[in-house]
């Protein structure tokens, strides 16, 4: 075969707008480009001059799929700048809120966006005709994730109850009674989901990835921990800029995030799992093993199983937090504005989400930097296409196109978040 170009003009079942171009020459994948044409919204520019306290609500609007992640990275970066720390029950409630988002977002991706690739459907709606039980179970599980966010955050999308220092209002123990019952059922559903996705056919494709995720001595990471890799990186969030860089890729205008001196890296469920398997709950570990996963997984197509395991963990962890919950004395830690710089990285469903803010004396934002997970994964996605699509080239165009899309969706890419790493292909020849 001489020359073949696979183009997907509008990639579906991702959050946002992106296109894909894979060029094949003489039986080899020559290049792959994931281009993002989501219009820029200039968040880092419009945040300047806003009060520090506005960052959680404004940055939530970067992504309607993972607003909690933006709120969590924002509040932790601001608290770092203001020199306060939020502990005890307030810290646990933040963890609980994040559990809700992981359950909601992971289940959306596992059941509605990614499973159709494995089972050969255009989407969950037509998949429901033949796999009604699985789709219904997914919707029920997703709903419980949303119930956590709605109870604690006020609503599912763009929660209103998160503030720098804590919350506006904290729930009573009694408020959680009904949710705990739903969560017990959700945990059963999550277990079944792991078994369901484990039964899919996975292309045998592995690669020697650099995984980057948070790691905490006592827990599976959500909000806190050091940024570590499987190649010896071990830093605190304020050192992020010393180790990661945004570079111009030589032949394009792309800005991509890379590890200085070593190139691409992978963030998200696969990275978290590989770096933190020992911190999963016993139930999640056992279910992962039964699903055929080892403590290390380097096949990106199996990320759907890892996501299902993380959703199960989040149900388990949410129940643990609710069970131990005592209403705190106050909903938020008092704070005073001051000049300073704050850094934070938290684990969005799709991976590490880094925020940095510089504040003026009055607490207004002088400078903001936000590095979302999808822009960190973009290079890895393109490398996967070059590396993993090779064996599928004898497929007809349409089937090959599906395979390419599935490969991109391994990363659950959230294009709305990634726009400020906009890639434009401009041919000046």
């Amino acid at each position: 075969m001489a020359s073949r170009t696979i183009k997907v003009d509008y990639l579906s079942r991702v959050e946002g707008e992106a296109a894909l171009k894979v060029v094949v020459r003489n039986g080899e994948v020559k290049s792959a480009a994931l281009s993002i044409f989501e219009p820029p919204r200039f968040f880092e520019a419009l945040l300047r001059g806003r009060a520090f306290s506005e960052a959680p609500d404004i940055t939530a609007r970067i992504c309607g799929i993972c607003p909690v992640a933006y709120q969590m990275s924002a509040v932790h970066a601001m608290e770092h700048a203001l020199g306060i720390s939020v502990g005890g029950q307030l810290r646990d409630l933040r963890r609980l809120l994040y559990c809700g988002e992981w359950i909601e977002s992971h289940t959306l991706h596992v059941h509605m966006l990614h499973a159709p690739d494995f089972l050969g459907y255009d989407g969950a709606i037509d998949m429901a005709r033949d796999h009604g039980e699985a789709v219904t179970r997914g919707l029920a599980l997703k709903k419980v994730g949303n119930e956590i966010i709605a109870l604690l955050g006020g609503r599912e999308i763009h929660p209103i109850n998160v503030r720098v220092g804590g919350f506006y209002r904290v729930p009573t123990r009694k408020d959680f009674a009904r949710l705990a019952e739903s969560l017990k059922r959700a945990r059963e559903a999550a277990l079944e989901s792991v078994q369901w996705v484990a039964s899919f056919d996975f292309p045998e494709r592995v690669r020697d990835y650099t995984f980057v995720a948070l790691r905490h001595p006592d827990e599976y990471p959500f909000n806190e921990g050091r940024i570590v890799s499987n190649r010896g990186l071990d830093i605190a969030a304020p050192e992020y800029d010393d180790h990661f860089e945004e570079t111009h890729v030589a032949h394009t205008t792309a800005l991509q995030s890379r590890l200085r001196g070593s190139g691409s890296y992978l963030v998200g469920p696969l990275a978290r799992y590989n770096l933190n398997f020992d911190k999963l709950s016993p139930l999640a570990q056992q279910s992962a093993r039964e699903a055929g996963l080892d403590a290390i997984c380097t096949n990106p197509y199996r990320s759907i199983v890892v996501r299902a395991v993380e959703a199960l963990y989040a149900c388990d962890e949410a129940l643990r937090i609710i069970d131990a919950y005592e209403e705190p004395d106050r909903p938020a830690v008092p704070l005073e504005p001051r000049a300073g710089v704050g850094f934070a990285a938290t684990e969005a469903p799709r991976g590490l989400l880094y925020h940095r803010y510089r504040l003026e004396q009055d607490g207004s934002i002088a400078e903001a930097r936000i590095i979302p997970p999808t822009s960190q994964n973009q290079q890895c996605i393109e490398e996967d296409l070059v590396s993993h699509i090779g064996g599928f080239l004898d497929l007809p165009d349409e089937a090959l196109q599906h395979r390419c899309e599935q490969t991109v969706r391994n990363y659950d890419p959230c294009i709305s978040c990634a726009t400020h790493f906009l890639r434009l292909e401009i041919d000046r020849a």
Partner: protein, 260 residues
């Protein structure tokens, strides 16, 4: 039953946005399969593969117009749509990204991008209704699930959607919330903000921040003097109107009175 009668075709379209309002459709966990039974979900790329083709009986449009390409694309969507309904603050008022309308877009691009000369963008972020006729506007950042279901049901029944146009204050009264402004001196945009959320913020001991945008004929000038009495300075007053509905005319006008 008219089994052979084709189901109305639904299209879900995205412009500059966070995807949250169209996610609201997928967040209708209990109703989604019924919706799929009543409507032909013909174009909804966030959820399913599919190509743009023919006409759509109902188009839900998320996001604002911020690029020359999108200004053209919305015309095509309008031509293809029998009913076009905007969902959310971006589509209805320009969204948070309309803060560029008060700034220098070149400076904005230079702050965010290494090569701002490669960025194709308009100097403004504007509502869908500034570009094409819109049949109905659903407010909120994000929209309410219940209101979305009401709009879809109304369309299927051929009636007008019931979405109250009063202020968030009324919703607080209906919920029996004590007024956060009167009881706690907490600044609140409830008196000028369009209903629809169910007064979530005051129910969580915080002031409304106006994410549903201005109600019809709001008296923002009067509210501003109350807010000033509570200690908000000019810059804070300007900011409070310049969030997710900054380009909605009455909020824009009121914000321009402050901060200088």
């Amino acid at each position: 039953m008219a089994a052979d009668k084709p189901k109305p075709r639904l299209g879900v379209w995205k412009f500059a946005s966070c995807d949250g309002c169209q996610l609201t459709l997928l967040d209708c966990e209990d109703e989604l399969l019924d919706i799929a039974g009543a409507l032909d979900i013909a174009y909804f790329p966030e959820a399913t593969r599919g190509k743009i083709s023919g006409r759509y009986d109902l188009s839900l449009v998320e996001g604002s117009i911020t690029t020359p390409h999108d200004a053209e694309r919305i015309r095509d969507v309008r031509r293809r749509s029998r009913k076009l309904i905007t969902i959310g603050a971006c589509a209805t008022a320009g969204g948070i990204q309309s803060l560029r309308n008060f700034a220098d877009i070149k400076e904005y691009a230079a702050i965010v991008y290494a090569r701002p000369d490669y960025i194709q963008t308009l100097a403004t972020s504007t509502a869908i209704a500034d570009h094409v006729p819109v049949d109905f506007e659903l407010r909120g950042c994000p929209i309410s699930k219940h209101q979305l279901l009401e709009v879809i049901s109304a369309l299927l029944a051929g009636r007008k959607p019931v979405t109250p146009a009063h202020s968030v204050c009324i919703e607080c009264k209906l919920r029996g919330n004590p007024c956060v402004m009167v009881a706690h001196g907490t600044p609140c945009l409830g008196p000028v903000t369009h209903a629809g959320c169910g007064a979530i913020c005051p129910s969580y001991d915080r002031g409304c921040y106006g994410c549903y945008g201005p109600m019809e004929s709001p008296n923002a000038r009067s509210l501003s003097s109350w807010l000033a009495d509570l200690g908000m300075d000019g810059r804070a007053l300007q900011r409070v109107y310049r969030t997710f509905n900054a380009n909605a005319p009455s909020f824009r006008t009121e914000s321009e009175r402050h901060g200088k």
